[in-house]
């Protein structure tokens, strides 16, 4: 179960292990331990075993297998797989089975990966702890009294708990990177437009991006290579885009900036880990300096106007007419209002309200319009910084994993995304790599940021950090 994706693919391709054996072993692990973590909303056991069998048959016929041959993969439950329930962690979509499959999922299957299940998330990906799921909260495998982060907490937990070597998430304001940091694994938000969003249930369309989780940098890159590429079904997909999974771990001669605005208000342990990372990169020959990106300070405010505004528009489709829940009222308006009142949880309602307010007459220019201008400032500031530096680094999260139920104030929860949001507003790639931990053993990630389509250099720095990192945290039931 400690095998990585590349190792599994190599073993399956060379017939040393069958895909069926791999899948059976991972399903067994899930059935044994997921009750302690609650990573999965749906385990697709039958489908996974059938898929594995087909891969084994093709292998026995001498057919060449794809780069993810027999690799079990968990999907955040906001990505459509035809014929399987897709809930988005919401009651409003309970029981809905999409009649189509997300492009990202099709690409994984075409690479001979095996879909093992759908993972828990904050409802419609709105949250930073996976406590906003309408079904149950997911726990951090490293310490089950803590949150795994969010919104892709189920996917992060699946990888950290060794249920799957790879899981797929979506990142609108940090929903891949923050849980990766809190669970001690690697999480990548690619450049906006590198991975097709077709079949990803939309939250904030100008910010959403699909990306992988893995326990090491190479496996995350392997997954991204499969996920990346142009798709006619997503008009924001970058024509001709691809990710070439070949990078070094050389940072000698690189100019690396440490974002000053993201080093204030962080916990002592996080600061300590950041300093260790800086010292390590210097020892490897990189020039590491502080850089100020002033407008990132306003990222949180801009994001919490733009994302809810886009969400309030996107989620208007959940009206009880075409799919999901319907609560009949006396007329159509009452049907809408009652369906949405019953189907959505508190955080989704809060963001609908916030977004509708920001877009409403009299506030559009002062709120939404100004937030879009701040987005321009952030893009300009990043461009300036990348004139002087090849990549930027920062903490991924200001703190280690917090306790389940600890953050009850919505604004306090929003602060968890303060370091990750600017990359979404800019459309730039960024990833989290585990580098250290606090005294209690809770993981701490370093965020590596790069300019648009700068994945190659981002992965090189991440790979180097991985070489210098403390040993990854192991799930609580495997510690001895």
């Amino acid at each position: 179960m400690d095998l990585g994706a590349q190792e599994i693919a190599d073993l399956v391709k060379s017939s040393k292990v069958s895909a069926t054996q791999v899948v059976e072993a991972h399903l067994d692990e899930i059935s044994r331990y997921d009750s302690r973590v609650n990573a999965f909303l749906l385990v697709m056991a039958e489908n996974a075993l059938e898929q594995a069998k087909r891969i084994d048959v093709r292998r026995s016929k001498g057919e060449e297998l794809g780069p993810l041959a027999g690799v079990p993969i968990a999907l955040k439950d906001n990505m459509a797989v035809s014929g399987f329930a897709t809930t988005c962690g919401s009651k409003i979509l309970e029981g809905w089975k999409p009649p189509y499959t997300a492009t990202a999922v099709k690409r994984l299957v075409a690479a001979d990966a095996v879909l093992i299940g759908k993972t828990n998330l904050d409802e419609f990906a709105m949250g930073s702890s996976t406590e906003n799921s309408a079904y149950f909260p997911t726990k951090n495998p490293i310490d089950p009294t803590k949150v795994p982060g969010g919104s892709s907490g189920g996917s992060a937990a699946s990888v950290a708990a060794r249920f799957t070597p790879i899981a797929i998430g979506s990142d609108t304001g940090g929903s891949i990177r923050q849980p990766a940091s809190l669970c001690g694994i690697v999480g990548v938000k690619p450049t906006y437009g590198l991975v097709s969003r077709y079949g990803l249930v939309a939250f904030a369309s100008s910010l959403d991006q699909i990306g992988p989780f893995a326990r090491n940098v190479q496996d995350a890159a392997l997954a991204l290579q499969v996920l990346a590429g142009h798709d006619d079904r997503d008009s924001t997909s970058i024509p001709g885009s691809h990710f070439d999974n070949s990078f070094t771990d050389r940072v000698a001669g690189l100019r690396i900036g440490v974002i000053q605005e993201m080093t204030t208000g962080i916990s002592g342990a996080v600061e300590h880990t950041l300093n260790d990372a800086i010292a390590f990169l210097r020892s490897m020959g990189a020039t590491v300096e502080a850089v100020s990106i002033p407008s990132t300070t306003y990222g949180l405010s801009a994001y919490y106007l733009i994302a809810p505004a886009e969400a309030s528009s996107n989620l208007s489709r959940f009206d009880g007419v075409r799919y999901g829940l319907r609560v009949p009222g006396a007329d159509i308006t009452q049907t809408y209002e009652q369906t949405r009142a019953e189907g959505f949880g508190a955080e989704v309602k809060r963001r609908m309200m916030l977004g509708t307010y920001a877009l409403s007459a009299g506030y559009y220019d002062a709120l939404y319009g100004r937030a879009q201008k701040v987005r321009t400032l952030i893009l300009d500031d990043f461009a300036k910084a990348y004139g002087a530096y090849d990549v930027l680094i920062s903490p991924t999260s200001p703190t280690v994993a917090f306790g389940l139920g600890d953050k009850t104030d919505p604004l306090a929860m929003y602060m968890a995304d303060v370091c990750t949001i600017p990359s979404n507003l800019a459309g730039h790639p960024a990833m989290s790599v585990p580098f250290g931990c606090d005294e209690a053993g809770l993981p701490i990630g370093i965020q590596v940021l790069a300019p648009a389509m700068g994945e190659q250099i981002m992965f090189s720095v991440a790979q180097s950090l991985q070489n210098g990192a403390a040993k990854p945290a192991v799930p609580v039931w495997r510690r001895d």
Partner: protein, 100 residues
């Protein structure tokens, strides 16, 4: 950006715009929470943004076109199978026009 809190009346108005039914308790808590969140967002009110062009999309793609060709589309019955109510190949909705 306005100084005042979002009143309960205003909260109800926004809820109606969002077609969101709220309980009395939700109106009270949302009115407070939204005020606090917008209070935090006030930091961007102090910025001089007069000459700044808004960004709607970080990666600028212009006029993405494709050939207008016939392709596969979703199966109607399969799509309607997910609907709360369907009949004769159509979604069934409550009556929208009043009797007059």
């Amino acid at each position: 950006m306005s100084e005042q809190e979002i009143s309960e009346e205003e909260t109800l108005h926004v809820a109606h715009l969002a077609r969101l039914g709220l309980s009395g308790a939700e109106v009270k808590s949302f009115s407070k929470q939204l005020s606090a969140i917008l209070q935090h967002a006030k930091d961007i009110a102090t910025l001089d943004l007069d000459d700044v062009v808004p960004t709607k999309h970080a990666i600028s793609l212009m006029n993405v076109m494709r050939e207008d060709t016939v392709g596969d589309s979703l199966d109607r019955d399969e799509v309607l199978a997910s609907a709360p109510e369907a009949q004769s190949g159509m979604f069934v909705v409550p009556k929208i026009l009043g009797e007059s």
